[in-house]
Structures are given as structure tokens and as C-alpha cells.
């Protein structure tokens, strides 16, 4: 139960001479949900994309189940990415493929499954996020919430060891947020390992095992939500959350 799945050590990243990430380290255990919070521009999204090298970090190492990621090795990098699911803020479904094909394509091309097996698996995953009946629709015909659920199914179909969620609900209309959070809640309760950047504080408080608070490219506080958000404690995390609540009110 306490086995380390993902280990991120001393990741730093500069863009145009400006430090975006400074020496970020943390470890994710199996079945854990870590929530990244912090003001926009703090580097949450960059950190997540550095983990699977969509943005290559300048320095630092990533370990997946005890194996160090060799970034220079293309094949190794692809195999690594295939085991790490990613959910984007703006969905990034493949626009020219139906929902089912979106889920199936990586199974076929990366996992090497047959067309038939991949389609079966895709339907199964779409069923899990409640979209089996929309499997033949194209992204342009789906609502934002449905798109994000297809993206979840696409990531889940790869049987990822860990899923990175980059503000999965922030591009959605408020009434569509619930359906996506429900899927994530389900996953968390079934023991999926996840790292999620979000502004949904209630959600984080209820489900997160640990909160990482980021500011200016650094992880400045980290701990269980009960500790960081406890009544009367004087943490930056609590400060930030109170401000978010005030704005919401």
C-alpha cells in the first residue's frame, strides 16, 4: 500500500531566462490523490507537463516504479508516457476521430492491439464514464463535459500507473463540472493514483490525501488537507483558499 509509484526529484525549468519551476520534489504512493493548488502562473501546469516531458525539464529526475526515466532515449520516453495518463485543461481530443476512435487509436498504435480488441476496450472505457451511447460522435458534436470524459476514457484505456490531471474542469461551464468531478471521484475511490491541479477546493478537501501548494515555481507547503486547512492555522494554503472563497461569494 505504501509503495512509491512516481518520484519527482529536483525538477527545475527556465523559460526565456525566467525560472518557471525551482527544485520541485515529491513522491506519490500507490492509490494516492495529490492535489496541486496555487495561484495561476505558479507553475502547476508546467510541473505536470514536465513529469511526462511534454515540456522537457532543465534538470531533475523522474522515477516510475523505481525506474529512472531516460529522457534521451525516445523509445523509453514513449513507453514511459504510455504508462502515465494525462488529462488536459482544454481536452485535446483528436478532432478527426470519433469518441471511440479517440480512445482506441493509442491502444492500436502504441499498445499494438487489433482493431477489434481496441474498439471493444474503447467501448468498455466509454461505458465506464457514461458515454457508451455517444461513442460514434465527433468531438465537435460533444459538450465540454462529455469531451473531458472521453479524454478520461482515453487515458484510462491505457491502464496508466498514474494519471496527471491539469485543471480538468476549468474550461467547463459550471453546470458541467459535476459530471467530470464525479468520474474523478469514482477513480479516487477505486484506488487510482492521481496528481491533479485544480481550483475546486471543496473537492480537494474532501478527497485529496495530500495538498501541494505552489507559488512562483516552488512547492512551498505540503501536507494533508486537514492539517493545511485546519481552522485557525496560519498557512499560505489556507490563506489562498479563503481568498478563493471570498471571490466566489
Amino acid at each position: 500500500m505504501t509503495e512509491d509509484v512516481l518520484q519527482v526529484s529536483h525538477i527545475s525549468k527556465q523559460l526565456g531566462g525566467k525560472p518557471i519551476l525551482q527544485d520541485c520534489s515529491f513522491t506519490v504512493k500507490r492509490g494516492e490523490l495529490k492535489v496541486l493548488i496555487g495561484p495561476s502562473g505558479a507553475g502547476k501546469s508546467t510541473l505536470l507537463q514536465c513529469i511526462n516531458c511534454l515540456i522537457p525539464p532543465d534538470s531533475g529526475d523522474i522515477w516510475l516504479e523505481g525506474t529512472k526515466l531516460d529522457r534521451a532515449n525516445k523509445a523509453h520516453l514513449c513507453a514511459f508516457r504510455a504508462q502515465v495518463g494525462m488529462i488536459f485543461q482544454d481536452f485535446n481530443l483528436f478532432d478527426h476521430l470519433t469518441a471511440e476512435e479517440n480512445v482506441a487509436i493509442a491502444l492500436r498504435k502504441v499498445r499494438g492491439m487489433s482493431r477489434k480488441d481496441a474498439a471493444d476496450r474503447a467501448l468498455e472505457e466509454l461505458g465506464r464514464v457514461g458515454l457508451a451511447r455517444r461513442s460514434q460522435l465527433y468531438p465537435a458534436q460533444l459538450s465540454g463535459g462529455q469531451k473531458q470524459r472521453v479524454a478520461m476514457a482515453r487515458a484510462l484505456a491505457m491502464d496508466p500507473k498514474v494519471i496527471l490531471l491539469d485543471e480538468p474542469t476549468s474550461a467547463l461551464d459550471p453546470e458541467l463540472v459535476g459530471e467530470v468531478l464525479a468520474v474523478i471521484r469514482d477513480l479516487a475511490q477505486n484506488g487510482m493514483t492521481m496528481i491533479m491541479a485544480t481550483h475546486q477546493m471543496d473537492f480537494a478537501r474532501a478527497l485529496a490525501h495530500e495538498i501541494l501548494f505552489m507559488e512562483r515555481g516552488k512547492i512551498i507547503e505540503q501536507g494533508a488537507p486537514d492539517v493545511l486547512l485546519a481552522e485557525g492555522c496560519n498557512t499560505r494554503t489556507r490563506d489562498f483558499c479563503c481568498r478563493l472563497l471570498e471571490m466566489g461569494a
Partner: protein, 223 residues
């Protein structure tokens, strides 16, 4: 006078059918090779290094800025001055290929650049290699975006193939001109020539629409 059927069946149609073959022999290779050239050039302009991109852009701007008639005359009349000789057919074919490659490259480049970064990121996040990403994500999307423009270009090519007559290549237009000059019946002969081109253009347009419908996907194609 417009009902002189013998004139059409005996003089006009045989000559025009002969010319039609030459026109087709111009359009088909020029269309195919020009399109392939346009893809190569478009890729170079979208993804190439600064030198390649600069060269591609300069080539495209020049060929799009100068009338095809001038290019054709250059190749046929001017290149022999520096020792390069083409027959009429070769000169016409070459100039059509060079010119349509420039026009095609514009659509190909636009289509490639219109693919959102997120699509590529998502493919990489799923573990696809660069080659797989290009083959399964970039090409299918870019092809759909470029199809209407490139198809239009083929339609233009059919019409502009008539310019081959300027360098004495005897295609539809040239054959028509000979018959018209011999008989001085310009109206009737060129009505017939026009009809041939109309049929060609209409067929090509249908084919293009059919292809667009076949490959239609919600969210793509003409807005």
C-alpha cells in the same frame, strides 16, 4: 448558321477531341506532380529551418506574384538563351507544375499550421512516437483542411491549361484556334471549346465535392 451540324461533326469535334487528349496529358501529370511538389514545399515552409523556409517563401511569393503567361514565355522563349531547351508541351507542363506547386503549398502550409499544438501534445502524452503522431494525427487533419483549397487549385489548373496555346502547344485551345482561323467562325468554334472546358471543370468540381462529402467530419471543412 449556328445549326451547321456538318461543320461541327466534320471539322470542329475531331480537332477538339484531338486537343482534349493533349489537354488531359497536360492536366493530369501537372496536377499530380504539382500537388506532390506543393506538399513538399508546404512542409518545408511550415516546418523547415530558416534558410529552407526563406527559400520556400520567396519561391511561392514570386510564382504567385507573376502571371502564369509570363512564366510560360520565360520557360519557352527565354531559357533557350541560357542553353535550356524545351518543346512546347514540355515547357507548358513544367511551368504548370512549378506554378501549381507554389499555389498548393500555400494551402498545405496553412493546413499544417492550423493544427493545434494540443493535438500533438495529446498524442505524445499517449506515448506515440513523432512518426506515429504525424501519420495518424497530423496528416489526416491537415488533408481535410487543405482539400477545398487544393481542389480549387486543380479546377484553376484545368482552365489555365489553355495558356499552353501561347507557346504553340496544340491542346484544346490551340486546336480550336486553328479551326477558327481557317474558317473564321470564332463564335461557334469557341462556344464548343468553352463547352469542353465547362465539362472538364464541372466534372472536377463534382469529384471534389464528392471527395469532400466522403471525408467530411463535423468540425472540419468549409465553415
Amino acid at each position: 448558321m449556328l445549326l451547321d451540324i456538318d461543320f461541327f461533326t466534320q471539322d470542329v469535334l475531331p480537332a477538339l477531341n484531338q486537343g482534349l487528349l493533349v489537354t488531359l496529358a497536360l492536366i493530369i501529370p501537372a496536377g499530380v506532380i504539382g500537388f506532390i511538389g506543393g506538399i513538399v514545399l508546404g512542409c518545408a515552409r511550415a516546418f523547415g529551418g530558416p534558410v529552407l523556409r526563406g527559400f520556400g517563401n520567396a519561391y511561392t511569393t514570386t510564382l504567385r506574384g507573376v502571371p502564369l503567361a509570363v512564366q510560360l514565355m520565360m520557360i519557352y522563349y527565354a531559357l533557350p538563351k541560357i542553353g535550356i531547351y524545351f518543346d512546347a508541351y514540355g515547357a507548358a507542363l513544367l511551368s504548370f507544375i512549378l506554378c501549381s506547386a507554389a499555389y498548393h503549398s500555400e494551402y498545405v502550409r496553412g493546413a499544417l499550421l492550423s493544427i493545434r499544438q494540443g493535438q500533438i501534445r495529446a498524442a505524445q502524452a499517449l506515448g506515440m512516437t513523432t512518426f506515429q503522431t504525424i501519420l495518424w494525427i497530423v496528416v489526416p487533419q491537415a488533408a481535410r483542411r487543405a482539400l477545398p483549397g487544393c481542389g480549387n487549385e486543380i479546377v484553376y489548373l484545368i482552365k489555365y491549361s489553355s495558356l499552353a496555346y501561347l507557346v504553340t502547344c496544340m491542346e484544346l485551345m490551340g486546336e480550336g484556334k486553328v479551326v477558327a482561323s481557317d474558317t473564321f467562325r470564332f463564335t461557334e468554334v469557341f462556344m464548343a471549346v468553352g463547352a469542353y472546358y465547362l465539362v472538364l471543370v464541372t466534372l472536377a468540381t463534382w469529384l471534389l465535392h464528392w471527395l469532400e462529402r466522403r471525408t467530411y467530419i463535423p468540425g472540419f471543412g468549409a465553415r
